[in-house]
Amino acid sequence: MKRSFKILAVSLIAAMSVTACSNNNTSTNAGNSSNSSNSGNSQNTTVDQADAGSAIDPFAKYDEPVVVSIGRSIDPNYKYEGDDTAEDNVYTRWLKDAYNIEVKHEWESSTSDYGQKVSLAIGSNDLPDAMLVDETQLRQMVKADQLADLTEVYEKYGTDRLKQIYESNEGLLEGVTFDGKLYALPETTLPSAPLTWIRKDWLDKLGLEEPKSLEDIEKIAKAFIDNKMGGDNTIGIVGTQQGGSLYSTFLSSSDHFLNFSPVFFAMDAYPGIWVEDENGNAQYGSTTEETKAAVSILRDWYAEGIIDKEIAIRKSSQEVISSGQTGIFFGPWWSAYNLTDSIKNDPEANWRPYAAPLNAAGEFNSNQATGSNFIVVKKSYEHPEAIIKMLNIHVNEKEESYKTAVGKEMTSQEIPLFLIMGHGDQLDYAVNTTQKVLTGEMSLEEVDKLNYGFTYELASHVKNVKLEPFDNYDIQYWDQETDKDFFTHIYAHLNGGSTFVNTKVNWTKSLATAQTKTMQSKWSNLKKLEDEVLLKIIMGTAPIEEFDSFVEKWKQQGGNEITEEVNALK
């Protein structure tokens, strides 16, 4: 489940992609992002090859077909056009016709099992030519010497556009360079902090104020339950479901969707990531006193019935939101993409995000997401440049043939080796520009279409969707019917995105972002210890004192050793 959330998160953020998108055929949460097809300028290849220096044309069509075998995650609910499949669709056929790059699927798996399938491929050393992996898997593959060195082909074949994108996202390529060799092509992730999403229509009905502190949220949740806002079985705050975790960790940042990270952050606790103690030494956030205090709050909330009694057992927390049984959950700005069912079931469901709870000093804390996707190439693959070419094609404007052959927007389900690629400030730009175009401060022509294609799409549709007053994002001031496909995108960006980009976030980054040597043998045991004890304390089956003995045990069973290693990383 964790993985599927990540994919969901990723595909949602994908909507932010630098390239254009005009969602026209799929359900709201699939994240229809993709490449611009509406470009008038199709002859830009000449511009892009300027940097290639020598005679190499990064877009040249191969004389002979080049086969790229990949491992692919498939969203089982995605509907392809006609008889198309993930392996054989308009995009892959065009790729074959226009560039002679033929994509073959070595294996496919559902999005939820993908990570496991990749681990299996790594473990058995039975790798496709290229695939998407996470950071731990990347490091494992580097260590096992399974990957092709991409330094040279990236220099030679990477277009200006591709390089610009990576340069605008500082430190991204350094993170995948080991001993001076580039081993992967990373995704450009967007920072995202968990906000508190609340049914504002319920708040208004009960005459409650917007929340600021943990106490405010507690009060609101209690009021929702006492007044049976969601029926007899109203759940105060819904969160972690079966297989999910209480907070995002340095190894799997599921982007904070539906967990309890904000409660920890408001107590200045950063469980699941590596932080500095007051002396500047590394320590594991889950073992701190702050975390203990936050756990104790969650424990009280659980006992009082404020948070979901079925935390960690519930099959789908999303369902509770959609059915209108709850009025509060925690999630990042793009959570609005997942609210369409809720709004459909109850047109009055006016979900609004709040940058809350704040800590005692009034700051809004968050950890910085570390998880990401990387394209890696098998060491023995003969055409690593084909992978660079595919990414070039993905981020640049397309040739003329794209319009006739494909002609519509493609998603991560059609485009093989799909990465979110965008400038570092894409979300800010998208939100602010869309707002300005809406109010007339800026004309559509002024939007930087070349670098922020998706923003251009949002801006050109925003007037169909948003009603006056333009600065009020309550659900009644939206037109959901006229431009259904774009409603979700714009609703997410303006309702969710605007709150996030206008909030000053106090970021904390993990000192370690992948497993160290000792972690490889001992982390699984320590993680289990942590998950089990914290959940038991919250659910009241273990006393709060158990936390201290957990810290002791954690340190003894390898935690001390690992802390040393993380210290050495700094």
């Binding site: 043998s521 089990e532 659910m539």
Partner: protein, 296 residues
């Protein structure tokens, strides 16, 4: 006298099974080497560095390994007992019902769950026993507090056993029904003439007749003592019940497939196989001694 050639067709029939055994069970055996190595996928199993018993030492250091073995055996033994007694009692009871239509219908209904996968059954179970589910509604009518059956350490193993027995007893009962139909009806008639009550007939004729089958099934299931049911537990458990619900297979799954600790996971798996081998040998001996049944 049978000559050798008359056995030939048996060997041919055996062949597919042997081929399967060779490729899927014997050939992958070299993977055991991983438990003695610092496995590096790039180098492969044979070229990875030898690290002796380090994986085993670590395995015995962590509390977990003891716990998962204890949980596995506890759950598996309860399941063995439950899956023997419940179908037996059920078969005996249904055998006393004379209405054919009724027995057939009941039989069909109770063995249906066997054909559902645990993914589905677990979902149903979690719903039925959920906080606002029907079971808790019922309990609340009697004035008790609602509880979370699948998040309670003490209840969890029992819930696992109960749901497994519920799912499987109908199917397991089929063998007992077969044994029951093979009892010579003349014995019942003779007993009736001698004035034995229905209950007496059950105790003195029916039960002794099916007992060998029960013993046989029981001893054979000993080999499964370390298989507590991955599919089932994986779909039902959560971190709150790790202490009583985590079994060897789920642990190996998390360590090996999720955390890529191949060596450690293999070591635990190997230990499971060794213990399993010993138990199968015991069950073989017991089956021979008590049920006079030889597998080979």
């Amino acid at each position: 006298m049978l000559n050798r050639s008359s056995y030939k067709h048996y060997f041919i029939m055996l062949l597919p099974g042997l081929v399967w055994l060779f490729f899927f069970n014997l050939l992958p055996m070299y993977g055991i080497l991983m438990s003695f190595k610092d496995f590096n996928p790039g180098l492969g199993i044979f070229k990875s560095e030898w690290i002796g018993f380090a994986n085993f030492e670590y395995m015995f250091q962590i509390d977990d390994s003891k716990r998962v073995f204890r949980n596995t055996i506890f759950i598996a033994v309860l399941k063995m007992i439950g899956n023997l007694i419940v179908p037996l009692v059920f078969a005996l009871m249904l055998n006393e019902v004379k209405n054919r239509l009724f027995t057939r219908t009941v039989q069909t209904i109770v063995y249906l769950p066997h054909f559902l996968s645990w993914v589905i059954v677990a979902g149903i179970m979690l719903d039925i026993f959920s906080y606002n589910g029907p079971i808790n509604q019922l309990l609340m009518n009697f004035g008790s507090e609602p509880m979370l059956f699948f998040a309670n350490e003490k209840l969890f193993p029992w819930m696992v056993v109960l749901s497994d027995v519920w799912k499987e007893f109908g199917f397991a009962a089929i063998i007992f029904f077969a044994a029951l139909t093979s009892i010579n009806p003349e014995m019942y008639e003779a007993a009736a003439i001698d004035g034995a009550s229905q209950f007496k007939r059950l105790l003195s004729i029916t039960l002794p007749s099916v007992l060998p089958v029960a013993i046989l099934l029981g001893t054979l299931s000993l080999g499964n003592i370390l298989n507590a049911g991955f599919d089932q537990i994986f779909n039902l458990y959560n971190p709150a019940v790790y202490s009583t619900g985590d079994i060897i297979d789920t642990w190996v799954y998390r360590a090996g497939l999720l955390d890529m600790q191949y060596g450690l996971a293999t070591a635990v798996g190997l230990l499971k196989s060794v213990v399993g081998l010993i138990l199968i040998s015991i069950s073989y001996t017991l089956a021979y001694r008590f049920a006079n049944y030889r597998i080979f």
